[in-house]
Each structure stands twice: as structure tokens, then as C-alpha cells.
Symmetry: C2
Subunit: 350 residues, 2 copies
Amino acid sequence: MIVPIELLNTKTVSYDITIDALPKLSFDTKVVIVTNPTVSGYHLDKLLDMVDAKELSVVTIPDGEEHKTLETVERILNQLFERKLDRKSLLIAFGGGVIGDMTGFTASLYQRGIDFIQIPTTLLSQVDASVGGKTGVNNKYGKNLIGAFYQPKAVYIDPLFLTTLPKREFSAGVAEIVKMAVMFDSDYFDMLESSDLDDEDILKDVIKKSVEIKASVVNQDEREAGIRAVLNYGHTFAHVIENETNYTKYLHGEAVAIGIVMANRLAVELDMISLLEADKVTSLLQKFDLPTEYDISSVDEFYEHFFLDKKSANNSIKFILPIGIGNYCIKSDIDESIVKRVLSSFGVSG
Amino acid sequence: MIVPIELLNTKTVSYDITIDALPKLSFDTKVVIVTNPTVSGYHLDKLLDMVDAKELSVVTIPDGEEHKTLETVERILNQLFERKLDRKSLLIAFGGGVIGDMTGFTASLYQRGIDFIQIPTTLLSQVDASVGGKTGVNNKYGKNLIGAFYQPKAVYIDPLFLTTLPKREFSAGVAEIVKMAVMFDSDYFDMLESSDLDDEDILKDVIKKSVEIKASVVNQDEREAGIRAVLNYGHTFAHVIENETNYTKYLHGEAVAIGIVMANRLAVELDMISLLEADKVTSLLQKFDLPTEYDISSVDEFYEHFFLDKKSANNSIKFILPIGIGNYCIKSDIDESIVKRVLSSFGVSG
């Protein structure tokens, strides 16, 4: 006997990403803002001015990647239960990638899922992390290893919040922008080379372009069965670097910058990109004071760490590599010795 | 500036529920069976005989609702990371509702989601819990308050596993069957009144009917925005009872049996069902030695506890009530005094 089950009204998910001054937001449900002390210190007053709700409260969680854990999510959940949120309630993620990832994950778990919206306040989360519904936490085995695909109901990107962002964090966000450009759009790359991101209008255009690329990729492949993996360009290396340095030495975007340089050097080795093009990418990263060197103490250990990455299915490593600037390739059959030779060039001597 | 996002290839989920002797299952990925000591003691050998995998291992977790916690899920997750499961790996839930809910939830979380299949071994999980993708855990605030909607890839229901099920647990499963019949199908109810569930073929037909009802409800409303809430008939009361008795005195199905009687008495009070019909339901429950009485020590406290239920949106309690036998009604506007009067009839005097 077989009974088939088919969910007829599983709806296509859609939402808007608004890149502009934050509008007035009004809800006739309970709303909880999840934020951290830094963002809250600078901008919470403004957000509270703009949000109207049946009952509005704020949960503040500690700043930093090291707090992106299941324990913190459980603490947020407990706060929601104490406030007796129901299934119609809404969370607002107000902060950078850590806040967005954890708030979205919490929203996915609370009573099997309540709505949330993203109001990203860092460049990295504005151009990348807040769009596309990847949520989750880290654990001792690696980054983002526990989580859910769970889309926000809306994303509001207000560049004004970037005015208080430390220069180093701004640059970290640029790394993800460079990633999008190298993978998908050489015109965008050229634009970045000549753009002054201190100019408000130019910055807005740059953010918009990045969000458009991200949205188009997610639209095609929400669950990373194919093209979405391309957004992990640089990340296969970056995750190992972050793990080796306990998530403390580098900001995520900084590790991605190094990872991009590593991926490019591998692509040069495989004749997929010219040395000149690889150098252009490195120069662009350096223009924003991003790190492009890393001392690998043990190439074997570094290589071994690849296998904990989510993308390493069935013991093969998927490398996301550029083909020139503006095109990508996913390769999972690269000989171990080639990868290790490239890694060796990042040895102690730099 | 607004960038719309629309996930074009969010696929309709579909899978088969097989009610028959467990077939040979073969996978070319890593497979982890999650089970408990009781089920494993009786039936693991048989399952291991039927499952072929690239790498097969077993995670055993303690038996009982009190272990259905985020902590246990984290322990399972850690076991999966130790075994280096990748995104193509698969979990098999082999046990009752607790195992199914936690295994499905774990599968939803591991690397943002890997496949799982259900092989339910209790009557309750065979006729109800294993179908429809509700996963999750309890916490101090209540039952199933943290979780995900996450569908299995397949469900294999083999009545053979029921031969070792304690009589009390078998009866607990019958409570959910009675629930389906009273809500959706008076012929099914009549059939249950006259059926001998010790007969293997009859039992199989009864299971199939229940699974068909469940599948049809889930097909219409996966996320419980409407009709799926009808499956909570009896549960609004049962959750309070389980909470008050610390999940130890009653099996879930037993609490549901009492909850059904309570809901019916409320329906009688509202002239939605006759006393005769309500008594017929009570008699059917009693035929399977299910409890139908409960001593409410404080009606006010009992009533207060309703509001922690997930279904109690915006401080109104949704009661799922029968209209005669075979039809349902969702009512959220019942006067507090009427509910309390009905609850009072379950006072210390019984």
C-alpha cells in the first residue's frame, strides 16, 4: 500500500529588498528587535522611531562571531517565550551578518517558524548576507554548520547605517562585493576599480548591483544545489583560515579576501585566469586595505580542514574558481598535489 | 530602489508513504540510523538486514518525551559531525514519535538540511506523527515549541514492528486514530467501533485510512495555516495535561484521549454534538483502555496554560470541536466562563 503525499500549496517565496532611507514600518503584532550593543548604541533610537507595533521590545545579544552559537539562539528563544510571542509575531534583525544569521535562524525555530525582516547595518550584510535566507550558527566543527534556509519577509538596506561602521568592517564588506564582480560581472569590477565608495550615491549603486547579483543567484538556486555555490568563491579557503585563527584574527570579509587570492592563484596554476588579472583582483582588495597574504604553517593540515566544509560532499572538494574576470567555474576534480603546491606558496615566507 | 526576490524553483515536495513489510533499502551515501535502546533491542537487527549504505552507523538516544530537548538534538548533531556526514548523507528515524520528531529536526538543521526517512515503530507514529513533516523538541515553556516544518523523503510503515509494542502504547496510538475519525469520517468511526485491531489485515486497513486522512490534510495545509489545525482536536487540552503532569503520568495519546473527552464536553455545551455522540466517542476510547477522566485542581491555572499553546495567537484560544461525528469546527470566540464551567466538571470529584 502506498499513499502519496504532495504539498499542493507550497508557495513560491517572494519578497522585496529596499535600498533606501529606512521607511516607517507598522505592524499590528508583537515585534522583537534583535540587535547588539554596538548597533543599538548608535542607531536603536532611530529604529524605534520608525517601527510601530502592537508590542515592541528589544533583545540585545553580545557582539562577535564567537557568540554565533546554538546557546545564544536558545537564549533569544527563551526571551521570545518569556514575551509570549505567538505565531503571528515578527522579529527584526538589526545588525550585521551575525545578528542576521542568528535572528533568521531563531525565527525559523520559534514555534516552527515566524516571520522576520532584515535591517542590515554593515556593508557585508547589506551587499550579501541579508539576502537569500541562509541562517545558522557555528559550532566547534566549523562555520554555519547548523542552520536553516529561511527567507525574510523583507530586507531594508539603509546606507546611512554605514556611517558609523569602522573602516576595517567596511573594507570587509568590500571583499564580498569584489567576489560578486569577479564571478559574475567584469563591468562591475571595472566600476569598482574606479569608484569612490565615500560618495553616497556611488555607494548606493554599488550596493544595488551586488544585491541584484545575489538576488538573481538565489532566485535560481535557493538551496545551493548549483549556481549558488559560486557565491562561496574564496570561502572554501576563508573557512579554513577563520577556523585556524579561531575566528578572532580576521573579520569574515578579510578571510574571504585572502581566500579570493588563494583561489585565484589556483586558477592561475590551472590557466583559468592570467597572472595579470589575478594581480588586478589582488590590487583592488589591497586598495581597500584588505589582507591578501596568509602564513600557512602546515599545508597538510590546511588541506585536511577543507573536508569539514559543507560543500565537500563525498570527500571531494569543490573549488569555485574564476575564468578570467566575470566568469566562474566549479571544479571538484583538482589534483591534491596541485592544490598543495599552491597552498605551499602561502608558507611562512609569505 | 527595490530589488524583488522570487524563488522560481522552490519545488513542490512529494513523497510516498508505504504501508507494508519493510522493503530492502539501498543508498550510496552515508546513512545514520537514529533509534532508542528499546526499539533497537527488538528490531535493529532486522533493520540492519534491510539497509545497504556506503557507510552505515547507529546513534542511540535515551527513550522518553523528557529527552525530546534541544540538548539531545545537539548531541545527535555532534555525532553526525564526528562521522563527517556531508550534504548528501541521510538519516533514518527508527522509533516512535520522539525519535521521529528529533531525527527530522536534526536532519533539518545539519548543514541547513539533509534528507531523512521515517520508519515509525509505534502505532501513534505510524498513523500520525511520521507523516507531514512536523519536527521539533519541547522546552520548559511547553511541547514542540522549537522546531521546523521539514518533510521526510519517504515513510515506511511496517505493522510488524507493532508486535512488540506494549499494550498501553498501542492504545495511545488508537487515540490519534479516533481523533481522525471523529473529525473527518463517520464511516471510519463506525468501522473502529466494530473492528478487531488484533487482526493483522484489519489493522493495516485502519492504519492506511488514518494515513490517508493525515496526508490529505497535510497536502492542503502543510504549515497549519488552516485545516491542519483540526488535527489538534483534543491536543489543546492534552498539552496542558501533559505539562501539568510533567510529561510523566500520561503517554501523549492518553492525554489526547482525555483532551478529546474535554473538547467533546465543550461541544456538547455548545450544542455542536449530542451527549449520545460524545458518549459513543468516550466508549470507543474506553474500549481501548484509554483514560477519559482527569482531576483539574485549579480551573484558572488550567485555563491560563492554554495561552502558551502555539495555536493561541493574539491571546485567543482556538478550540477544535466536533460537529456531530465526522465533521469539525474551529472556534476561537468561546466565552471564558463557558470553557471554565466545562473544565470545572473535571474537578477533583472527577
